[in-house]
């Protein structure tokens, strides 16, 4: 939330430009009182004249602003001299003491105009600040309400995830106990479905943590060997013996700066995606290379690829492509989570069509020196 911008407020509070109408009114008023006083000049003392002129100057300052006020003061000064200080009809002053009267009048008029104007400006600034504060308070209230709703959603998701995992453990445990009995097949389905539910809970929790910016990140120097090995291990169950070609330089250890757990999730999601969308026996290529200070992990499959018009959208949550084969299940969170996990650790994830058909996902992170000091 931004603080009140005082320069902007001050600028807006400056005296408004007087309109020609207010000029006309106040110059007219000055002319009128001058005429009236001129008609009764014999009965008026200098003090009366000065006070009446001062009234007009103050009125002009208050009503039409500083410019009008000062103009009135100057004109009244001239009129005072011309009509009301002897010798009349000339800008000359016979009695030197009258100069004192005249200048006191001028200074009083101008200072009064200035003071009035300053006061008016201060009032206007105060009003604008009050408005601004009210507006910010409203924005803050709205932001606070949003934040609370968001926090509530996260707390709810976390609690739901937590409270779901405990009964899921019981369900799996009991299913396992009856696997040996007459309903072995059904018990196995219960276990598998419990696992699926658990993965969905993980995805939703991760999404909400990403949304809340609450995902802990621990960047360290890690090796490509280690990450690829861990990804192979994690996806063992999903790959079910499907061939994986590893494309890594044999004589060189590659290293990068990334969060191992999140990077593992990215790579595992990409491999799972590749396994889902390509024929069962076709190999998946998993590789890494360093160029221009970037360590890039590549996952390639021989599936149908992604049509050009869908390429931007595959990373959106709950989005599943039109090429999804029958029987493939999932919430459509895998790629969306992968891209966001890549980005929160300073990396990127992009799609490229693979030459010769299929998809190619490139996950890049900053490279690191792989020959440490001994």
């Amino acid at each position: 939330m931004s603080a009140i911008d005082s320069s902007r407020v001050t600028e807006r509070a400056a005296s408004p430009r007087p309109t020609w109408r207010s000029w006309a009114i106040w110059l007219g008023a000055l002319a009128l009182v001058t005429a009236l006083m001129h008609a009764t000049r014999a009965a008026l003392g200098e003090a009366h004249v000065a006070l009446v002129f001062l009234l007009v100057v103050l009125g002009g300052s208050a009503g039409a602003g500083r410019r009008v006020g000062i103009a009135l003061a100057l004109l009244a000064f001239l009129a005072f001299n011309w009509y009301f200080l002897p010798p009349y009809g000339a800008l000359v002053v016979a009695n030197p003491l009258d100069w004192l009267v005249l200048f006191t009048f001028l200074v009083t008029g101008i200072v009064a105009a200035e003071l009035l104007d300053r006061q008016r400006r201060a009032t206007r600034i105060a009003e604008q600040r009050a408005d601004e504060i009210a507006r910010l308070a409203k924005v803050r209230d709205e932001a606070e309400a949003l934040r609370r709703a968001d926090a509530l959603k996260d707390a709810l998701l976390a609690a739901v995830s937590h409270d779901l995992r405990t009964p899921l453990t019981t369900i799996k445990g009991i299913a396992h106990e009856i696997v040996g009995g007459a309903n072995a097949e059904r018990a196995e389905i219960i276990e598998t479905e419990a696992d699926r539910l658990s993965l969905l809970v993980d995805d939703l929790l991760e999404m909400s943590q990403l949304d809340a910016g609450a995902l802990p990140i621990e960047i360290a120097i890690n090796t490509a060997d280690d990450l690829i090995g861990a990804a192979l291990q994690r996806t063992q169950g999903i790959l079910r013996g499907r061939p994986v070609e590893i494309d890594l330089p044999e004589d060189e250890l590659l290293a990068g700066r990334f969060d191992f757990s999140h990077a593992l999730r990215v790579l595992a999601n990409l491999m799972e995606n590749a396994a889902k969308y390509s024929p069962d026996s076709s190999p998946i290529v998993l590789g890494a290379a360093v160029s221009d200070g970037t360590l890039s992990f590549v996952v390639e499959d021989s599936g149908p690829g992604i049509p050009e018009e869908e390429r931007d959208r595959v990373f959106e949550p709950f989005r599943r492509g039109s090429q999804v084969p029958r029987g493939v299940r999932g919430a459509g969170l895998g790629l969306s989570i992968a891209r966001r996990l890549a980005e929160v650790q300073g990396g990127s994830l992009r799609y490229e069509p693979r030459g010769g058909g299929g998809s190619r996902f490139v996950f890049s992170v900053p490279a690191a020196e792989a020959r440490p000091p001994e």
């Binding site: 019981t170 445990g173 396992h176 360290a220 890690n222 280690d226 090995g229």
Partner: protein
Amino acid sequence: MAVSEQPLANAVLVIDDEPQIRRVVRNALQPMVSRVLEAATAREGMDLAAAEQPALVVLDLGLPDLGGMEVCRDLRGFTAAPIIVLSARHGEREKAALLDAGADDYMTKPFGTLELQARVRAQLRRYAAATPASSRVVAGDVEIDLTRRVVTRAGAEVHLTPTEWGLLRAFVSHPGQVLTHNQLFRKVWGGSAGDAQQYLRVYVGQLRRKLESDPIRPRLIRTEPGVGYRFEPGD
């Protein structure tokens, strides 16, 4: 799987406030041990652990009366028995912190019965072996002799740098045990923080490339993602 073999331990202790989880753990472990003790609170669990000296503790993190980290530390004050932590939260950082606090293994709910049995069996075996780790290890075609500072692979001597030696020594001295990154830092570099520390994982990568026949699918030095490494000399 019929398990009618000799019980692996006399008693194990389950500390969990959820009766259903205690039931699942009890049913999973009963075939393997003589007695499964149960406690619903940390206090009760600590009293039972002190009185019965169980060979292993299965500890839930979400106990109503005390945090998991504290329970781990308190248990470590009087027993060396393996502690396997159960948690509904999943996070490698939390896992590493628990291992640093004295836990031996960690499982995220929902876990499977077979997985639990395997972890318990591994911890009980490791604890029962309890003999100091051997200074000479043969694993596949790799032979490690810590006293003579010699490593051979398929009969040929492998040259290791001093840091790689430090790492290997730490691994060999704790077979089958997860060593967190922090624990490895302390064992290899002592208390001193330096530039070399941040390359821990690179040193492990180098060591693997020298010892493992397939460094992408390592058999000796396994990765525990986000937590650390585990040395598996094999049976």
